[in-house]
Symmetry: C2
Subunit: 235 residues, 2 copies
DNA sequence: GCGGAAACTATACGGCATGAATTTTATGTG
DNA sequence: CACATAAAATTCATGCCGTATAGTTTCCGC
């Protein structure tokens, strides 16, 4: 029995309209930034009354939360796919794949980047735990995998300053289950690497790095190269 | 003759009111974030009509631009002061001073950090060249000074991949005048270091780094320590 | 074919930035 | 001191925004 078979015209329409609302919202965001997402603009675009949207999303914030989740999922999909396409044991290749996918995605979806990382929607308050929490966890898990893969080469280069007490156990448990070889210092390193790449890409996306595009490519490649070196991996 | 002596009551009041508008706007931002900056809220707080503010700032965006400039100036003052208080030739001390001042300022002024780095004001569009451009230049100049100071130790650790052609000359000229010893690769390194620290602090300010405050301190200190090591400086 | 739910519209309220016109207020000058 | 003038502030209006409430249409399952 096919589950979708039982969908009546009603629920099919509902799904399609929901998708259209999100698609129009994404379009508005793509040109105009996250702040351009408004129920009235979406309704105008769709030839509807603003209030009709309330049949699909309880509030504008609910819609934005869904968008953040979708967009972050897209980012996590991109980095995961890059990781899957790289040779699993080759830490340098994993770094180049993940790092490249991250920046490529960010430059292709600058407004999406702003949406998920800078609360750029006027009155929006993200729900507890954050909007794209699940996707963000998956996104970071990829980076953690890299750190775990590289750790045998890297551990002697980094002072072993951290213990598991430095992290909150409820967040920790699922990660340690997936990566039994993870150490506290490797986790701290993971967060720092995240920061490095996030920072460079973030400055680039927001236009603070006033250099030609080709130079920004070189700078990011230099960053990845030094990251690989700093993890004690042979080029 | 004292220049301020010639100020009449009128201009003194104007200056005071302008200052009060900015102060109230800062207060609103401190509790409620950059998005809470609204002319009506400011006017309410001051017991005025919203339109009265137009006598002091042409538009809300003008006010925001001024605020960004003020806030960024505060950040640049903080990092400059830290740099001035450190032993000039000691690159490791400069890094710890600058990096520490940067993060300390960001944690003390999280909403200011959001204001200057993430365009979090609803419909705000920053003018050409960016709002806090002068302060940002000064802020980056401090970091450049560190890179220049450390470069003799660091240069053999970094492949010399960059040339002056990689950067735009009009932005470059004033910097090269201040730092005759600056090389293109050192400048690229400066931007990358900016990215590293910006990214870690940014993730922390936005709550993406879900770890206890003490751990975040340790992570940042580990970052500064590794930065010093990666520049070939003895501890 | 009929009851009820889902989808949608109409109207309204309060908040926002801002423009134009107007009144109030203070200043410098005759 | 009185008055013209410019600055400061108010009032009124327009057009955005989210969203609450109430009413209407449409379609599905029984």
């Amino acid at each position: 029995m096919d589950g979708t078979r039982t969908l009546g015209r009603r629920e099919r329409l509902r799904i399609e309209t929901t998708a259209e609302i999100k698609a129009v919202a994404m379009d508005l965001m793509a040109e105009g930034g996250p702040g351009a997402i408004s129920l009235r603009a979406i309704a105008r675009q769709m030839g509807m009354t603003p209030n009709a949207i309330y049949a699909y999303f309880a509030t504008r914030d609910d819609l934005v939360t869904t968008l953040i989740s979708d967009v972050y999922t897209g980012l996590a999909d991109a980095t995961d796919a890059a990781l899957d396409a790289a040779p699993p044991g080759d830490a340098a290749a994993l770094i180049r794949a993940w790092g490249g996918a991250f920046r490529t995605w960010a430059l292709a979806h600058p407004q999406g980047f702003r949406l998920i990382y800078s609360e750029a929607v006027p009155g929006y308050l993200s729900p507890e735990g954050g909007a794209g929490a699940e996707a963000e966890a998956r996104f970071c898990l990829g980076l953690t995998r890299i750190a775990v893969t590289a750790w045998p080469h890297a551990r002697h280069l980094h002072p072993d300053d951290f213990t598991w007490d430095d992290f909150e156990t409820e967040l920790l448990a699922p990660i340690r289950e997936i990566f039994p070889g993870l150490t506290p210092t490797a986790l701290a390193l993971t967060l720092r690497i995240w920061g490095h790449l996030h920072g460079i890409v973030s400055l680039e996306v927001y236009g603070h790095l006033r250099a030609p595009a080709a130079t920004l490519d070189k700078i990011y490649n230099a960053e990845l190269a030094q990251l690989i070196r700093s993890l004690g991996i042979d080029p």
